[in-house]
């Protein structure tokens, strides 16, 4: 789906997030249009996870606004925000290891349980591996299968914006390509994607736009095709 640049679905204005005295984010501004793939890059501790967590409502900004579909959501809790269409797949996938695959998917549809049947069919069509494993305890899945389940669980919810925190971490190169292709496929199905990544080379191939975070501040942003050749990025991430 071609992004609709006119329609801003999520807007962050001057957002500051603190952990006690530490400023994890300083006056961050960010806009995402419907249907885009936006990638946040930044080294360890730059504030990527914090940014995603504050959008989902796990961290509360001390200053600034988060506006989703014209509504101020910065004071909402995660239960409210997930119900209204934003979902975060955290770094560890967020799956419940002691529950079965099926139970994980059922919880994914927590706020939309009446639509469970329709949704599970869509998810199983997209990720057929899950079908044979519905009764398996999620903690016993392989690492790769757990990623797939994390995607499946996210799609069981009613989300429009899918946020992913470093989905490629700890995967073999072949699997990384698969993950990014899945993300692209989901984007083509209508999901708007916000992705935190350190794997700039891969991520920039799939992204529409890129934001670069350093020490809690956005230092650079623009179209992926332009930024890939930006000297600062080349120097910092491509090692040339």
């Amino acid at each position: 789906m071609a992004p609709n640049r006119e329609k801003i679905i999520l807007k962050i204005e001057n957002m500051t997030v603190r952990y006690g005295p530490i400023f994890a984010l300083k006056k961050v501004n960010l806009k995402i249009a419907q249907g885009e793939i936006v990638v946040l890059i930044g080294s360890n501790g730059a504030g990527k996870s914090t940014l995603l967590k504050s959008i989902i409502g796990l961290e509360k900004p001390t200053e600034g606004h988060i506006i989703y579909q014209e509504k101020e959501i910065s004071l909402w809790g995660p239960d409210h925000i997930t119900r209204f269409g934003i979902f975060l797949i955290p770094e560890d996938g967020g799956i419940f290891r002691t529950l079965t695959v099926e139970e994980n998917l059922q919880l994914g549809a927590y706020h939309f349980f009446s639509q469970y049947q329709e949704r599970i069919e869509v998810v199983i069509k997209l990720f057929p591996v899950l079908k044979e494993r519905l009764k398996q305890v999620a903690g016993t899945l392989s690492g790769g299968e757990q990623r797939v389940l994390a995607f499946g669980k996210a799609l069981m919810s009613n989300s429009r914006i899918l946020m992913l925190d470093e989905p490629s971490i700890g995967l073999s190169p072949k699997y990384i390509v698969q993950i990014f292709e899945t993300i692209q496929a989901l984007n083509q199905r209508g999901y708007t994607i916000l992705l935190a990544e350190q794997n700039v080379i891969q991520a920039s191939k799939y992204a529409n736009r890129i934001y670069v975070l350093e020490n809690g501040q956005i230092v650079l942003n623009g179209n992926a095709s332009d930024l890939r050749n930006h000297p600062r990025i080349k120097e910092a991430y491509f090692g040339s």
Partner: protein
């Protein structure tokens, strides 16, 4: 032999009360993230409520509903205290929840020993006790109270296990039990479910109070401590938070106690029961039914 069978029947009835108590305790531990030492105390004070209502109205129906409602209300009343501890920033502090619960237990004991019935033990009316004989074969007697206790316990335990393992609410409870921050991120409304949990624990506590009063026919300010120590011990011996283990260990404790009472002076039953538990803990520090590894 007949005496032994009779004692085993007594033991099963008593044990099923322990099972329900441990199940409520474990539920609060797993989902509520608290060590609710005062849980049995709230059951005992609900027995006082039952006794008072029977005295005032002489109407068993009012007593039944009144007991259950007062138990639910008591649980809902203490919920904000624990919520305050558990929603502070940082990791959940299960130790301070234990101290808070201990405080609640002490306050309830004070109330019972000073304010209620001048501190004297209470006795339920004979017709309430349902000590009428349901079945008698030679020396083996089953009273209607025992029968009720057994049947209702089985039903309640079954209902709870279905709730926890078969329903969406139960899945959400187990998700919170596994990892509360993952559950929050998933969009599970933690606070609302927490309140619901206290409501369920209160309902369960009210039913236990009714059964216990029918079974033993009396209560005293010290009863709370007496059973709370056992509930804590059973939960730890079975493995904290292990529902199925609690079921088995609760029943076993009831039976063992009843047998000991028959063969030794009554005062020995506690000491022996705890000696056995000590032994188990030495062999399996994380409980009989929990995996004895660091991973959890």
């Amino acid at each position: 032999m007949k005496v032994i069978i009779a004692q085993i029947i007594n033991g099963i009835a008593l044990g099923s009360i322990y099972v329900l108590l441990v199940t409520g305790f474990n539920l609060m531990f797993l989902v509520g993230k608290i060590i609710h030492f005062a849980y049995p105390y709230i059951v005992v004070i609900s027995m006082y409520a039952c006794w008072g209502l029977l005295k005032l109205t002489n109407n068993p129906l009012i007593a039944v509903f009144g007991t259950i409602i007062s138990s639910i209300l008591l649980h809902i009343m203490v919920e904000p205290l624990f919520r305050h501890i558990n929603t502070r920033k940082g990791p959940i502090d299960i130790n301070s929840s234990f101290i808070v619960s201990l405080g609640i237990a002490l306050i309830l004991t004070e109330i019972m020993s000073h304010q209620l019935n001048y501190g004297f033990p209470i006795a339920f009316p004979l017709n309430w006790m349902s000590s009428s004989i349901f079945l008698e074969i030679n020396l083996i007697r089953i009273s209607t109270g025992q029968l009720y206790t057994l049947l209702v316990s089985i039903l309640i335990a079954l209902a709870l296990f279905i709730l926890i393992y078969q329903t969406q609410l139960g899945r959400a409870f187990r998700a919170i039990a596994e990892n509360i921050s993952k559950a929050r991120l998933q969009g599970i409304p933690i606070l609302r479910l927490n309140l619901l949990l206290y409501g369920i624990a209160g309902l369960l506590g009210g039913i236990i109070a009714l059964l216990f009063s029918m079974l033993i026919g009396s209560a005293s300010p010290w009863l709370g401590e007496y059973i709370a120590l056992k509930v804590l011990a059973v939960a730890i011996v079975a493995g904290l938070g292990n529902m199925k283990g609690g079921l088995i260990c609760g029943l076993v404790l009831g039976i063992v106690e009843s047998l000991i009472i028959h063969f030794l002076p009554g005062s020995w039953s506690n000491a022996l029961a705890f000696l056995m538990m000590l032994f188990v803990i030495l062999i399996r520090p994380r409980g009989i039914f929990n995996k004895n590894s660091i991973e959890s």
